[in-house]
Symmetry: C2
Subunit: 361 residues, 2 copies
C-alpha cells in the first residue's frame, strides 16, 4: 500500500464498490452528488451499473481483474457482507478497504459475530455452535425450545434458517443446513425489533441516525419507522452499543446493528441480533428523512471526509416494495408527500426488493 | 412516430438526454431514483456521463448517430436551450421530444421570445430588433439609455450582451455583436429578480415550486432564496404568468421563467425577463428543499407520470460554487445542515459552475 494511500479522497476520485445491487446503486448516486466517481465490480450485471462511471464484470476470485480494479480506484467498499475473504484480503493488500476485512469476517459468521459481541459485554441471544447432531441435542437441552437453527454463513432475509419448536424433529432441521456449519440460537421473546444505523469515520468520529423500529414479513424487512417507540434511555443505550461495536472493529463506514427490545419486569433491555457491515435497508429512510443519507454518510466516512449531520427531519416511515408491490408504482407516484424510489430491476420476482417509499411527517 | 410512442413510460425504460453537463447529471440521478435509465447524447464528455446507463458521443448534426439514439430511447429531453433546431426536428419526427421543438425555438431567440410573451398580454422589457447601426440609433432614441444590446441567440450567463450607457459609443457596442442578429432591451429598474420554476405534464397538469428570489454576481446566478420576499399577490401572479406561458407553448417538462419585480407607486409589478425551457439553476434548491426536486419533476412530466408535490420544506437558500469557491469543499462538508452538491468537473475555472450548497431552515 502506498504511503499516501490512506490520504482522504478529493472530488473527482473514484471509489470501487463490490456488488451491483440497489445498495451499490444508491451508494453510486450519493458518491456522484459529492463529485466522486464510482467503479462497480461484480460477476453479473445489476442496477448499480446504470449510475456508475465504470464497471468490471469478473468473478470475485479473478486476481487479474481485481488487480486492475485496485489500480483504477482509490478506495474499495462493498454493498453486501458475503464478499469472499480472499477478495477482501487481496484488495486490502493494495489499497484501503472500508469497512476493514476483519470487520467483514466478524459479521460473516454468526458464531464469530456473537462471540465477539458477548466479548464486549453486550447481550445477544444465547447460542451454541452446531457441527453435528450431538451438538444440536445438547444445545436444545440447554437453550430450550423454540430455538432457531441457522447456517453460520451466507444467510440473509431468513434464508438458511429454521425454527425448531416443541415436537419438531431436530434431525430434519439439521438436514436443512445441508452439512454447513451452523449455530443454534435461543428464542428471544422481544417486543420490538430496532436497529441503529451509524457511521464511524477514519478519525474515530461517530454519528448515529435516530434508532429505527422494524417490522418484518416473511423474514424480509417490510416497514421501518424512525424514531423508534422506545425510551430515551433505551435509544441512548442502543447507540452506545453500536458505537462500542464499531470502535472495537476499528470500523470505517456505515454499520447497522439490529437489536431486539425485550421488556423484563417493565424495563426495556437490548439484545443484539446481528451486525450488517454496510449500508442497510433499515436506513433507507435517511435519504428523505435525515439531513444526510446513510449512503452519503458512508461515502463521507470511507473518503476520510467529515461526517454529515444525521439529524432526523420529522417522523419517518419507510415501506419496502417487495415483488408485486412495485406494480402499484403509478398510484404511489400520485400520493402527495410519498417519496418513491425504484431500483430499476427488470423482474418483480416474489420476495425481491424492487423499491421503497418514504413518508416524512 | 409509432402509434404508442406517446404512451407513458414504465420503470426500466430509457430516457435520452441531449447534453452532458451538471443539469444532465442531476436529471440522470433523478431518473435512476425512479427506476428509469438515461442515455446521454453529447459531442464531448461531461459530468452527466458518470451517472448514465449509456452514452453516445457524436455531433448534433450526425444524423446516423441521432437515428441510432432515437431507436435506443423512448423519450428525448435536453439540458440546455441551444440544441440545434435540426437536431430537435430530426428527433421529434421519430419519437416524443419534451419540451417540444416549438417551445425550444421560442426560447432560443430573444426577439421571438419577447414577441411571444407580449402576445400573451404579459409585460417584458421594451425591446427592438437590431440588424444594423440605423436600427440601433432609432432604438436608442426610442428606449433611452441605459439599454442592453444582446445577441438574439446563444447567450447565457451574461455572454453576448453589452450595456450602453449615456456617452457610450453605440457603434462599439454593435461591433461586439460580431454581425449576429441582435436585440436592444430597455433598462428595467427592478427591485428584485425572481423566477418561477414549474412543471407542466402531458395532460396539462401544472405544479409550480415556490417562487425564488435570485442574486447574480458577474451575470452568473450566485444565490437563490425561496420563498421570495414578495407579496402573496405577486407570487400568485408570477405563477399564473408561468402557467400562461407553459400552456401557450404546449409545454411538457420543467420550465423556468425569470422575472423582474418592479415597484411602481408602491405596487409590485412583474416584467418577464426570459424563459429557460429546461431545469434551471434557480431550482436547484428543490433537491433538498421541496418534496419533489425539479429534476424528478421534469422526469415525471416527460414520462407522462403524475407530477410530484412541489411543497417547500422550510426557508431555503442555495448558493452556487463558482470557480474557486469549490476549493472550500471540505469546510462546507463540515458545516452541519449544509447540503453539498459537487458536479464532478475537473478544473475549477473562473466563472464555471462547480457545485452548489443548500440550507433548509
Amino acid at each position: 500500500m502506498g504511503a499516501d494511500s490512506n490520504a482522504s479522497l478529493s472530488p473527482g476520485d473514484t471509489i470501487g464498490v463490490l456488488g451491483s445491487g440497489q445498495l451499490g446503486r444508491m451508494l453510486a448516486a450519493a458518491a456522484a452528488s459529492l463529485g466522486l466517481k464510482t467503479h462497480i465490480y461484480c460477476p453479473e450485471g445489476g442496477p448499480a451499473l446504470d449510475v456508475a462511471a465504470a464497471s468490471t464484470r469478473a468473478a470475485y476470485d479473478d486476481d487479474d481483474a481485481l488487480a486492475a480494479f485496485a489500480k483504477s480506484v482509490k478506495r474499495v467498499t462493498y454493498e453486501f457482507e458475503n464478499v469472499p475473504a480472499h477478495t477482501a484480503a487481496y484488495l486490502a493488500a493494495r489499497l484501503p478497504v472500508h469497512p476493514n476485512p476483519g470487520a467483514l469476517a466478524t459479521a460473516q459468521d454468526r458464531l464469530t459475530e456473537k462471540t465477539f459481541i458477548n466479548g464486549l459485554g453486550v447481550a445477544t441471544a444465547p447460542f451454541a455452535r452446531i457441527d453435528n447432531a450431538g451438538d444440536l441435542d445438547a444445545a436444545l437441552a440447554r437453550l430450550g425450545r423454540p430455538a432457531i437453527l441457522k447456517t453460520r454463513r451466507m444467510g440473509y432475509d431468513g434464508k438458511g434458517q429454521v425454527m425448531i419448536r416443541g415436537g419438531d424433529d431436530a434431525g430434519a432441521a439439521l438436514a436443512e443446513m445441508r452439512g454447513q456449519p451452523a449455530i443454534l440460537e435461543g428464542f428471544v421473546n422481544f417486543r420490538r425489533e430496532v436497529s441503529v444505523v451509524a457511521a464511524r469515520g477514519v478519525d474515530g468520529a461517530f454519528a448515529a441516525f435516530d434508532i429505527n423500529e422494524n417490522e418484518h414479513a416473511n423474514h424480509i424487512l417490510s416497514v421501518t419507522r424512525a424514531p423508534a417507540d422506545v425510551s430515551a434511555a433505551t435509544a441512548d443505550a442502543a447507540v452506545a452499543t453500536a458505537r462500542k461495536i464499531a470502535d472495537a472493529l476499528g470500523y470505517v463506514g456505515v454499520i447497522a446493528v439490529e437489536m431486539f427490545v425485550v421488556v423484563d419486569n417493565g424495563v426495556e433491555k437490548l439484545v443484539v441480533n446481528e451486525i450488517a457491515p454496510r449500508v442497510h435497508n433499515s436506513g433507507h429512510w435517511t435519504i428523505d428523512g435525515a439531513e444526510t443519507s446513510q449512503f452519503e454518510q458512508h461515502i463521507r466516512a470511507i473518503a476520510g471526509w467529515p461526517l454529515g449531520s444525521p439529524k432526523i427531519l420529522g417522523r419517518v416511515e419507510m415501506r419496502n416494495l417487495i415483488g408485486a408491490d412495485v406494480l402499484r408504482w403509478r398510484e404511489l407516484l400520485a400520493e402527495p408527500g410519498t417519496r418513491v424510489h425504484l431500483y430499476g430491476k427488470r423482474e418483480a420476482r416474489e420476495g425481491r426488493k424492487m423499491g421503497h417509499v418514504t413518508r416524512v411527517e
